[in-house]
């Protein structure tokens, strides 16, 4: 068993990131560069020239820099590959903001504030990612420790009761220890400051400027009692603790946002026992008697109605789970027609509300953990990233063969030749 000396400084970020050997990194880099040139129909000569550059950089420094186009493409492909997201129909329209030159925590915080405002726009939320500096070997960049750019504080009181979001109790304690002063009158929806860890491991807190995070009061269109609960939620969900991996390069500081599906707020954030746990209070506020086997379903449905109504009233984009499911089905069909087998993690894709009434419930799907992708930690969701692709490539330098099986290899060669002539990739599924 490996022993860890007690004096060894702990670096949580280093433990979270994928560790790739030189050969593995080179293989991922080559695969990505080829994919970039193939999918963008760029000349073969350019691809070979770029591959030579990348190989030389990797051999010399163990690192290479993506061009802005490669970065934008990689971020979009990472979204397309991410098996847990239901809203990938619009993967091509992801706005990629390149901030790799920004390393100062204060500037990172300012960029995050810009990100939130720009993504929200006039309410038609644009899926956006801001990419900061990547990890270079053991040299780790500044990164955001907050799980989302906007999130609500959670206070665990002495009597064991919880005010606010229980998922953020630890983040709240950490912020208070770093000098954040919670509002004099604490509420269940106090916005937490942004916590950023710089390249030297020091933590910094930044309060987002007034108006950066738009909050929407949750009211029901026909049941006014709900307003008494004082519920509200922020408009833009911006995940900030996931790492973007592109071609063997890890970007641990790459906050991105999409837009909400109502059930994320109504059925999960408000209802989960480990979150706001509002089932009983919401039932009382909505005038639904907590009797019979289906009262919970009624409460959750009405809460979904309230969230959809409130966002629509505020002019902020949101989807219901049926529309989101339809969009995913369209994404699935488009991917297959493009010759790609879409990835999906069934337990994440199927909405928590009216599941079997959504077409995705009946759709067999598989997550092959392709790279580029996004992941939280190599110990959990990042554990199998890229493994299947690496296994499919028999050895470095023999990437022309997709399998040892002569039949499959023949199909692979056929697919490759067709993709060249048609100027778009064709997979075995399309044959």
């Amino acid at each position: 068993m490996r022993t860890i000396p007690s004096t060894m400084p702990s670096n949580p970020l280093a433990q979270r990131l994928r560790v790739l050997g030189p050969a593995q990194k080179l293989a991922e880099a080559e695969r990505f560069i080829r994919q970039f040139h193939e999918e963008n129909a760029l000349p073969d000569g350019d691809c070979e020239r770029r591959l030579r550059e990348v190989r030389a950089c990797l051999a010399r420094t163990g690192h290479y820099d993506h061009t802005p186009d490669e970065l934008a493409f990689g971020a979009r492909i990472a979204w397309r590959n991410h098996g847990r997201c239901i809203g990938r129909l619009f993967w091509k329209s992801l706005v990629v903001v390149d901030r790799r030159n920004v390393t100062d925590p204060a500037e990172i915080a300012a960029c995050c504030a810009e990100h939130l405002v720009a993504a929200r726009g006039d309410g038609r939320i644009r899926s956006t990612i801001t990419v900061f500096a990547p990890a270079r070997g053991s040299e780790l960049p500044a990164h955001i420790e907050s799980r989302q750019l906007t999130q609500y504080a959670g206070y665990l009181e002495f009597d064991g009761s919880i005010l606010g979001d229980p998922a953020n109790i630890e983040a709240t304690r950490s912020a208070i220890a770093l000098g954040w002063r919670a509002p004099a009158e604490r509420s269940a929806f106090d916005l937490l400051p942004l916590q950023i860890c710089d390249a030297h491991g020091r933590r910094h807190l930044f309060e987002l400027p007034e108006g950066t995070a738009q909050e929407i009061p949750i009211v029901h269109p026909t049941l006014p009692g709900l307003a008494a609960l004082g519920l509200r939620w922020y408009a833009v969900p911006a995940v900030s603790s996931m790492t973007l991996t592109i071609g063997g390069i890890e970007y641990p500081c790459a906050p991105f946002n999409g837009f909400y599906m109502a059930s994320e707020i109504a059925s999960r954030n408000f209802i989960d026992a480990t979150r706001y746990d509002l089932l009983a209070p919401a039932a009382a506020a909505l005038g639904i008697a907590a009797r019979g086997p289906l009262w919970k379903d009624r409460v959750v449905t009405e809460l979904n109605e309230a969230v959809l109504h409130s966002f629509a009233r505020a002019g902020v984009m949101i989807l219901d789970h049926h529309a989101a499911s339809e969009q995913f089905m369209e994404f699935f069909a488009k991917e297959r027609s493009a010759g790609r087998e879409p990835n999906g993690d069934w337990s994440w894709i199927v909405p928590p509300q009216a599941s079997s009434a959504c077409p995705v419930y009946h759709l067999p799907m598989q997550d092959r953990h392709l790279v580029p992708n996004y992941y939280g930690s190599v110990a959990t969701d990042g554990a199998r990233l890229g493994a299947e692709q690496a296994a499919a490539e028999p050895a470095h330098g023999a990437s022309g063969d997709i399998s040892r099986c002569p039949f499959a290899r023949g199909l692979g060669l056929l697919a490759r030749s067709m993709s060249k002539s048609l100027r778009h990739p064709v997979s075995l599924n399309a044959l």
Partner: protein, 295 residues
Amino acid sequence: MHLARQDAFPSSPPPVRLRLRPIDAPPARRTLVAAVRSQPTLPSLVAGLALAIVRSRGDEASFLELAPEVGEWEDALVPALLRPTDRIMLLDAPPTLRALPTTLGDIPVVRELRAIPGAFVQLDAPPVPDFSDYPVSRTRVLPIALRAPSGRHRNLAETLHEIREYARRHATPDLVFVDHAVNAVPGFLGELVAAIQTHAPGVQWMAAVGLDGRHEIPTRRTVRAAALAGLRVLVIRADGSPSDESSLAELCRHASDAGIAVRVDRNALRRGAGPTGPAGGGDSGTVFDSIALKD
């Protein structure tokens, strides 16, 4: 916009200032006790750490690690620690003073100690340990302490908070409750059993129970409920006295009926276990020895 930096102590007036003569302990102690009494608005104020800081001769060690060094300050610490809010204020000496030698002969050296702003630490609510350096993905087992840094049994809310964090960070690993026995505080085990699966669905866990008169012996009903709540291995700490033997046999039977694996540790109390568990956390290794790690 910038709120705070971890590495910078603000130069604003500190909330508490103590003037100590560290060479001369009794006056310093009197100063400390007076300071504790003079701060009724603060939940508790402990200056004993200050001496430890001076003793550390400028070592930049973690403040929390200094706590066990308070030694001779216990008389002053006890009344503070017994206050119901269980909070402690960490004190810091300016770097120039920390660098001074600990003895200066007969020269009276007055050292100013300043409270670190925002450094109230709730001793019963320590930060959730960061196990990112621990091979959770391979072992799937995490230790969870039931003894707070104050030495007392942690309350259920704090324990559940830690379990929730583990479930979120590590996708519900299995847990081993170390140090204190889960039945050391009346009602704790029952409440834990009722709540644990809500906060970490699918979790499996291992825990120790004590059998002497200071522990609440789990009933058959509690043991069955614990099995349903994911208890897989039960370590029974017994001292081998005749009164324990009947309880031990009965508890073994209940656990066996419920499908819980049992390990009896007859030497736990003989090794110096206190009323709530083994002294000094020395039994942690024993508990770990019996874990069947899943690879």
